[in-house]
Symmetry: C2
Subunit: 154 residues, 2 copies
Amino acid sequence: MTTGDRTIHRKATGFRWDGVAELPYKEDDRALFKSITRQVLFSDPEMRGELRYFEVAPGGFSTLERHEHMHAVLILRGRGHCLVGGEVKPIDTRDLVTVPPLTWHQFRATAGEPLGFLCMVNAARDKPQLPSAEELAALQRDARIAAFLRNEPR
Amino acid sequence: MTTGDRTIHRKATGFRWDGVAELPYKEDDRALFKSITRQVLFSDPEMRGELRYFEVAPGGFSTLERHEHMHAVLILRGRGHCLVGGEVKPIDTRDLVTVPPLTWHQFRATAGEPLGFLCMVNAARDKPQLPSAEELAALQRDARIAAFLRNEPR
């Protein structure tokens, strides 16, 4: 999807932008994600990358997933924790997070405040894969990852 | 140039980042730019876009240039003004600026404070073109652009 909006100047009001739709993710019974919205800031046929802004409400989280394409993340607002591969990290405003190919990852707003982040991706990219029950169990065998997935990061 | 650094978490300290070099632009006699530094935040062979952070000290400015590739800009710090094509705009923190192909553009820290911005570009891109004397004169025939280029935006 490209928006192709070439308006030269789009003003910010807090963490919303002129002419940019805020897309809620529909909550689903599988609880794959919670309380997260998405805004596509830059997407154009001439650009090989896209820049999106995601915001997770306190206690919410992004989808636990992996894919061939990479994520390049800059925390724009607040604090929280992320899981990338086998690592759980506390993250703070302006920190950078790199998600390599085919690496399980998730962002959680664990600090009682919204967690907002920019995410650069390739415009042409593969679909995310969700963990199977076996893959989830394998992740949970690591006590630190299990605590993160319970929203109780250490 | 790609850095290919896949360190998962790089902490920010103010507007500097762990493991990211701050590249000053050498000032030159032509005064094509002034008091600007660059940090490459994300650049990887697997990513078709790059994300850079530029910071202009008060009174400084980026190069007045154009090129086939686009710029997708988010103001990360401070306020200032930008020129994009025929338009001069005041810009503030988190505002978005789109620079279409082959469009003259420049960013100026006109507010007595540093102006810092993220800029997403295609990893594969053409070299910037500088204005000829004739092209500069044509831009200056617009009173508002001339004032901007004198660092006195209206």
